[in-house]
């Protein structure tokens, strides 16, 4: 234990000497500020497509669509419609002619949409047209009128249509979860990039510092074992990750989630990063050579964030990246939806991954790092 303790102190000193201990609180403050005060709770960039409407048909279309869109969405000519769609990214135009029974609807799009996306959008309009035809005559005459449109009545009938003209029943496996504010939703990817992958960086930093100073050569002739060598770096990194993680979470999420679950996941995840960092750094002489590989690993580790922000996009090649399950694990811990058993399953998988990586890093450090000359 005494030997392990002195190794831990040595590793802590390495991190101190290289400003790392100042890095942690500085970054934590930066992230806390960004989450709480920079990223808005509802950001405009992810909001709906800008829709522009040109109606040269029945008033009913304008009156119906006024319930959903503002005056600025309506234009006075087809040319203006095309200009607006051309100049505005993430936009679409609707040109309407005719009445309810025989409408002529043209969807003006920018050309960047996929076939499936266009199919979805045209289906939405087909659905609107079909349902409008089902409206009772009294509502149609209200909608055709130019004044005193009672939008509450339209909302009532929209609800009526939704309930009575649905082709199916709905079941939610768990109760519908509340919308997560966009700023807090950014936390899981940040936790991956900062905490999990920090271990990757720090593990490597310690090894390179020791290579530079020649401490590894000195260690070889001590009674200390490879296991103890790894354990000290492991302990320092895990502790740093936990402190970093808790600092961020306390000042962004408060005590609104289960910290024990968070502790378990962070422990396993940051341990994975540390072991990867230790394993790979063995192959490089200087940190300058390791840096691009580290960035590549950071990039790969961060790719699951795409699936996180776009949950319907989860190709197999992304789902097999270890950080994929970790990012969704953090999501479930911070914003619980009642997913039973997931933490246990994920912890077991991560534990197995950690064991495999530990064996690999042990063998690499024992048979390569400890036997290196120069």
């Amino acid at each position: 234990m005494k030997k392990l303790f002195s190794l831990v102190i040595q590793d802590i000193k390495i991190l101190f000497r290289n400003l790392i201990f100042y890095l942690i609180p500085t970054l934590a403050v930066l992230i806390i500020v960004i989450i709480n005060w920079v990223i808005p709770a509802e950001n405009e960039i992810m909001s709906d497509v800008n829709v522009y409407i040109y109606n040269s048909g029945s008033n009913i279309w304008t009156n119906m669509l006024m319930a959903e869109f503002d005056e600025e969405n309506f234009v006075d000519s087809y040319e203006e419609l095309k200009t607006k769609v051309s100049e505005t990214s993430q936009s679409m135009g609707i040109k309407i002619e005719g009445g309810i029974q025989n409408p002529s609807i043209t969807l003006v799009h920018r050309g960047t949409e996929s076939e499936e996306m266009l199919k979805l959008i045209t289906t939405t309009f087909e659905y609107i047209v079909i349902n409008l035809k089902k409206l009772p005559p009294d509502i149609i005459s209200v909608l055709e009128g130019k004044e005193n449109i009672d939008f509450n009545k339209i909302d009532e009938y929209q609800d009526f249509l939704v309930e009575n003209f649905k082709g199916y029943k709905t079941e939610n496996l768990r109760s519908k979860s509340e919308r997560v504010p966009d700023n807090k939703a950014a936390l899981p990817p940040i936790l991956i990039l900062e905490i999990v992958l920090l271990g990757l960086m720090f593990g490597a930093i310690m090894i390179f510092q020791e290579k530079q100073e020649g401490s590894i050569k000195a260690y070889r002739i001590t009674p200390g074992s490879t296991l103890m060598y790894i354990a000290s770096k492991y302990l320092v990194n895990i502790s740093l990750s936990l402190v970093y993680g808790f600092l961020i979470m306390v000042f962004t999420m408060g005590f609104t989630f289960n910290y024990l679950h968070f502790l378990i996941l962070t422990l396993l995840a940051s341990s994975l990063g540390t072991l990867i960092g230790l394993s790979i750094s063995v192959f490089f002489k200087e940190i300058n050579e390791f840096l691009p590989i580290m960035m590549l690993l950071l990039f790969i580790g961060g790719v699951p964030a795409i699936s996180y922000f776009s949950p319907s996009f989860s190709p197999f090649v992304i789902s097999i990246i270890p950080t994929y399950q970790i990012i969704f694990g953090y999501r479930e811990i911070l914003f619980p939806t009642g997913k039973e058993g997931f933490l246990l399953n994920m912890s077991l998988i991560l534990l197995v991954e950690n064991i495999v990586l530990f064996v690999i890093s042990y063998l690499l450090i024992k048979f390569k790092l400890m036997r290196e000359r120069g």
Binding site: N18, L23, I34, I45, K95, L120, Y168, N288, L296
Partner: protein, 334 residues
């Protein structure tokens, strides 16, 4: 004479850079990112509803029709469908129970997602009525997500070359090369300009390759080159903050991590911060760098390309002048 001194310094630095394989990876890495993003982004942008269907109860005609709207995964039985729905991604389950269709969600899907899938399912399950919606394609090839990601990639290209510069500076300090430079006629200004020229060369090569991969030749490359020149100040600034203050490569890594957040975080933040709050970022030269590049990829902005570029360069020069008062002492050049 000044040009000759700078030329020899640049030649030395480029030769040193190619001594190890790291520079190759620095150059390749943004290119790899560009290729990967080019492959992934169309997948994200396309509608990708996944329907998870119980093939034992839902008839084939419905399955075939839904295939036109997204991906289909079929399973043998309701339990398997529900198990699949419990995975992390968003999918829509469809089964038939007692003659009625039932749609199953996990419960954590966004409202937008359930609305869209609801519309599709109603259309497919409920009505066979023919409705013709015409399409008019304006053939504008720039895509929304791709535009912003391309801007971030260009920022990263410039950042990478400045990281290379930073580590070269640290290397010079560690090997006392900088002391040797101190007794040469090369002064601090020439040192900075030489570093800037090296960054310009590497940034241009890497950025152009990345942008060609992502956009082909549909971009104004003259403006792209000008944007890189305007952004050089930021590259130099980052390079000297990290290289100037770090005493070792390891310290440089730590400083890089800290300052990297500011350099890349400001442009990313500019995407998400509401327009009414953008003024809080005006003090940062990399905000204006982002705006300059945005003018190229997205189109004319409120502050145009040339003005944004000039502000980028001017503001970064001001920061460099302030920084040099501290870093100059570290480097001990004339």
């Amino acid at each position: 004479m000044m040009i000759k001194r700078m030329y020899y310094f640049i030649k030395k630095d480029i030769r040193n850079s190619f001594k190890d394989s790291a520079v190759l990876i620095y150059v390749l890495f943004p290119i790899i990112i560009a290729i990967v993003l080019k492959l992934i982004i169309p997948g994200i942008e396309s509608a990708n509803i996944t329907f998870v269907i119980d093939e034992t109860s839902v008839n084939k005609q419905i399955i075939d029709t839904l295939d036109e709207y997204g991906y289909i995964e079929t399973y043998n039985g309701v339990d398997k469908v529900k198990k699949r729905i419990n995975d992390f991604d968003d999918v829509t389950g469809l089964i038939k129970e007692n003659g009625e269709y039932k749609v199953i969600y996990e419960g954590n899907e966004s409202e937008n997602y359930t609305e869209i899938t609801g519309v599709v399912l109603n259309r497919v399950l409920l009505s066979t009525e023919e409705v013709t919606i015409k399409l008019e394609n304006l053939n504008i090839t720039k895509s929304f997500i791709f535009e912003y990601i391309a801007i971030i990639v260009v920022v990263l290209c410039i950042l990478f070359t400045s990281i290379m510069g930073a580590f070269n500076i640290v290397d010079e300090k560690e090997h006392n090369t900088v002391k040797a430079l101190g007794v040469t006629p090369l002064n601090l200004m020439e040192y900075i300009i030489s570093r800037a020229i090296i960054m310009l060369v590497f940034s241009t090569i890497i950025t152009f390759i990345c942008v060609i991969i992502m956009f082909g030749f549909n971009i104004n490359y003259l403006n792209m080159f000008l944007a890189i020149i305007f952004s050089l100040g930021i590259g130099v600034l980052f390079s000297f903050i990290v290289g100037g203050f770090a005493k070792s490569e390891i310290e440089a890594l730590g400083l890089m991590k800290m300052t990297g957040w500011l350099v890349s975080g400001i442009p990313i933040g500019a995407i998400f911060i509401p327009a009414s709050w953008q003024w809080t970022l005006y003090i940062f030269p990399n905000y204006w760098m982002f705006n300059t590049i945005k003018n190229i990829f997205i189109g004319p902005q409120e502050v145009g390309f040339l003005l944004s570029g000039i502000i980028t360069l001017a503001s970064s020069i001001i920061f460099i002048i302030i920084l040099m008062k501290f870093v100059g002492k570290q480097l001990k050049l004339r």
